[in-house]
Amino acid sequence: MDTDDNSSGTITGSDLGQRYRHAGDLTGEAPTRPRANIWCSKKYFAEISITVPWGHISGKWYGPQNVQPILGLHGWQDNAGTFDRLMPLLSPDVAFLAIDLPGHGLSSRLPDGCYYNSVDNLYVIRLIMKQYKWEKVSLVGHSMSSIICFVFAAVFPDKVDMIIGIDALKPHQRPYPSVIRTMETRLDEFLREDERNRSKNEPPSYTYDELIERVYIGTFHSVNKEHCKHLMARNIGKSEKYPDKYFFCRDRRLKFYNYAIGSQELCVEMANRITCPYLFIKAAQSSYFEDKKYYDEVLDVLLKKPNFEYLEVNGSHHVHMNDPEAIIAPVNNFIQRFGPAAAAASRQKAKEAKESKL
């Protein structure tokens, strides 16, 4: 793992898709914090690059670097910037690593010709755990990644300390005709976009304000306009043709993400298998993304678990960006009780108790 302390304006790669501006340039965030200052304030972060077989996973490491961080995962077509406004509110002793999933933000795209599947993010989490030699992981996920956290906790129940999911609970069940229509569209367009990806032509570029507007519309006004810059910082490149313009540099193939993970029966079975402490936060003004009966069926299973906590808050789908204050108290409380430090302490205690019996 490399910790990149360079806060210069641009990271230049061999092609347009790899040319990004540093987050600090556009968000007003402080530059990358010095490595030596381990216990510094949450407003500082270190840029992290984790080697994976197809390139690297980029991330922002907030807080102390001598403890295991919570792993933060963003939603579809977002990036690590999704947690920018939540980070300064976390307890100062908590470490948090917000990553860009493959093809998003500053992370490498999947190789040409390859397809993005939601289920592959389970591999990504395991790769990161192996890189850092974590036995267990604490996860915070928003939207698509909240679903990934749910699935990961069911598939690897012995490898999770805690999960916090924000505003999407489980793999969505969509009407069958619409599932097939989506598959048909992807079939037509994926190969075309995959080819366009490889073209050396610069994508369409826009002024900064136009990009803000596009992000705002793209999230269906879920992110307040003044906070869109946090999602944009890791998502745009500077145009070479037009000095005052920028373009989106996320992978075009992300539009054709395959969300399918399994049936409703499988979701219920997954819910039954989750054993870790689990906080789920539902934004009241956000959709369920599926017929609510499917959501309710899984929620009913989870609510019977002693360490499942459910919180409904006023806000849109990106409530953690627009109004982080609304969720920070329960989040901090939950992390304090079940996060990496608490989990490590309880494991140590159990180990000592076992040894004292011997």
């Binding site: 197809w54 390859c114 591999y123 069958y176 079939l187 993970i261 399994g262």
Partner: protein, 308 residues
């Protein structure tokens, strides 16, 4: 006695390397695209192809990670959904606007999925001992597959990939017969082995499996019953031939409703069961399968029916 057929080895470019294939017979007209099953390769069709009408070509391909096709890049898991995209990739390479599909097992599932996604581009489907994939009912299947995949990927990255465990050819024949529940009997095993073994550098008398070890841990596309029915509705009235081995469980009760939709008011749907047939029914009972396949092809792809 099987006649020997002329074929040409083909390599279809893909961004991660190439898709290897064999084009048997007629190169002037659009061929049937034949797709093998999981962990197999195009050798699966060796005994069937000489029995098919000689006016129509057959292009058999090795799926990525199988046979002589390139492996997917490091870190990219194998997934049935992604495999379906191989079909339009091949079509694009040869400029076909339509495709005739013949698939065994995984290849048959891919054919069903593709036909549901793009029904207007498919003119016939031959499905050998399969219709729908098995269901994913247990999350621990995912656990095993992900961990197995990562372990194999680590093994390959460590450089030990250069020489996986090696065996004598007769031992591999034996293993293949045993692991397939004798669906690929020892005396036919070479059809499956000739494209997926390599000679050991360490032990001159031995060979090893050269396919990508990661394909064992591929991700199934879970087609629940309601989705299967909706897919079948999109395909309806297409020429569709399903052949089942009577001793094989792969075309079971779960397929009944889907088949009734495919066959409803469809004179072009045919279903046959080969007595004593196992999962590789087209390999060990090629003549019986040909008895049904040949008239089906003659009916739905008569001579000179479609140009490239």
């Amino acid at each position: 006695m099987h006649k020997r057929l002329q074929y040409e080895e083909v390599m279809i470019p893909a961004p991660w390397g190439h898709i290897a294939g064999r084009w048997y017979g007629n190169r002037a007209d659009r061929p049937i695209l034949a797709i093998h099953g999981w962990l197999d390769n195009l050798g699966t069709f060796d005994r069937l192809i000489p029995l098919l009408p000689d006016y129509i070509g057959v292009l058999c391909i090795d799926l990525p990670g199988h046979g002589r096709s390139s492996r997917l890049p490091p870190g990219v898991p194998y997934n049935v959904y992604d495999y379906v995209f191989i079909i339009p990739r091949v079509m694009k390479e040869f400029g076909w606007s339509k495709v005739s599909l013949m698939g065994h097992s995984l290849g048959g599932v891919m054919s069903f999925m593709y036909a549901a996604m793009a029904p207007s581009t498919v003119d016939m489907i031959i499905s050998l001992d399969v219709l729908l994939p098995r269901r994913i009912e247990d999350p621990s299947k995912l656990t095993k597959d992900i961990e197995g995949y990562l372990l194999e990927e680590r093994r390959q990255a460590d450089g030990t990939e250069h020489e996986p465990p090696s065996f004598t050819l007769s031992k591999l024949r034996e293993t293949l017969a045993r692991n397939s529940n004798n669906s690929v009997p020892q005396h036919l095993a070479d059809h499956m082995l000739h494209r997926q073994v390599a000679k050991s550098n360490m032990y001159p008398e031995k060979v090893f499996f050269s396919r990508d070890g990661r394909v064992k841990f591929y991700h199934i596309f879970d087609i629940e019953n309601g989705l299967a029915l909706e897919m079948a509705r999109r395909i309806e009235k297409k020429p569709y031939l399903v052949i089942k081995g009577s001793l094989s469980p792969f075309v079971g009760p779960r397929c009944n409703e889907t088949m009734s939709i495919l066959s409803h008011d469809n004179p072009n749907f045919e279903f046959y069961e080969v007595e004593g047939g196992k999962h590789h029914v087209h390999l060990h009972a090629a003549e019986e399968c040909a008895r049904y396949i040949v008239p089906f092809i003659r009916n739905h792809r008569p001579p000179r029916s479609s140009k490239l």
